[in-house]
Symmetry: C2
Subunit: 223 residues, 2 copies
């Protein structure tokens, strides 16, 4: 079965404050995005990668891709929102395949998690990695706020993984602002979302401190 990874690295990185989007910043001498591509090419020799880059930052992405000779990595540009970026990427995906949609800045994802996602998606049409909440959470309501049983809370990660026929069909819908991730788009078509256990170390690099945390994780500090 063909495997595709849509790596969404379209962020312009305004939250980092620096000039360079976070996916291109260096982590122990290599760009964040390099680690992400490495995890997927390590997971599957024959995976096809579709890298979604910001239009004004194609060049640093192309440089990173050059470090993966022998792998099929195509570059496409991002859309107006994540929904549009993923839809662009899905145009390059075959029917009857497995598709991973992954945040380019989740660079510490393990090949093991990627393969577990594929296995679970084969059985249930989709697999969404998630971890337990460690914080107390409340939900705002119309009249105030309410407590939530912490045991019910799951923090969602990527790669959100799907049988391609299911996600391609879901992305034929018109865009809706409530689509915050791929699971929410697919769920809208009536598909039941299948949560599987993610990884505490599978963090998203969005703040300067996250680069420090990622470096410590790479050095073996327990997160």
């Amino acid at each position: 079965m063909h495997k595709y990874a849509i790596i969404v690295a379209g962020g312009s990185g305004s939250r980092m404050g620096g000039e360079l989007p976070k996916q291109f910043q260096l982590l122990k001498g290599k760009p964040v995005l390099w680690y992400t591509l490495k995890a997927f090419t390590d997971a599957y020799e024959d995976i096809q990668i579709i890298l979604v880059l910001p239009e004004n930052h194609l060049e640093p992405g192309q440089q990173i891709v050059k470090e993966f000779p022998g792998h099929r990595i195509r570059i496409t540009t991002g859309g107006q929102t994540r929904f549009h970026s993923v839809r662009n990427g899905l145009r390059l995906v075959d029917a009857h395949a497995i598709v991973f949609v992954h945040d380019g800045v989740r660079c510490l994802v393990s090949p093991q998690l990627i393969r577990r996602c594929a296995g679970a998606a084969l059985e249930n049409t989709n697999a969404i990695p998630s971890i337990a909440a460690t914080e107390t959470i409340r939900l705002e309501t119309a009249s105030g706020n309410e407590a939530v049983d912490r045991n019910r809370v799951r923090i969602i990660q990527t790669p959100q993984t799907f049988f391609s026929d299911v996600i391609k069909q879901a992305y034929e819908q018109a865009y809706d602002p409530s689509f915050t991730d791929e699971a929410s788009v697919v769920e809208q078509t009536g598909v039941k979302i299948n949560l599987i256990e993610g990884e505490v170390t599978n963090i998203k690099i969005t703040r300067p401190i996250d680069l420090v945390i990622a470096e410590k994780i790479l050095e073996g500090l327990r997160n």
Copy 2:
């Protein structure tokens, strides 16, 4: 109006793996708990502090308290759960006062936040600091799971702050395992919980990586 802070530092620190509970571990040369006490004594010259310590770790707590001469800091031992520890502490609190209940390991809380909590609790009987969620969240349900609008999600912090009559009355209830924090105990008596804006840097030191993050925050890195 009298002000009391119940600093809950009763954790045995099993998650850290080391021998010393996290509240006694060093952050730039000072114990985590030292920073916490400093924030409250900086917020109010005349605050009365009730420090809840693990029975088998009274000595390191007493050492830290010695560094705050001229301040009224009493030590009490923790109960079976957080509920019981807080109830122990509340026995030392007067009526018609403001009470802060704070995690001993949230050592980066600012005196400004402490004072804002007091002001808001005076107006609304309680004030619970909280911050916006940056992650996508799902809730497990009886039949699977459901998406939650991220804009409705609030991550709860401490100091959870109350008019003392309100919290003392709430702690006359029998213990219930659904009591995960002080707000949940007080809410059970019909009081409406008042969320106010917390601080992103007001992190809880529970994992080894958190000490690294705290150090970077103290060095001025934007969290």
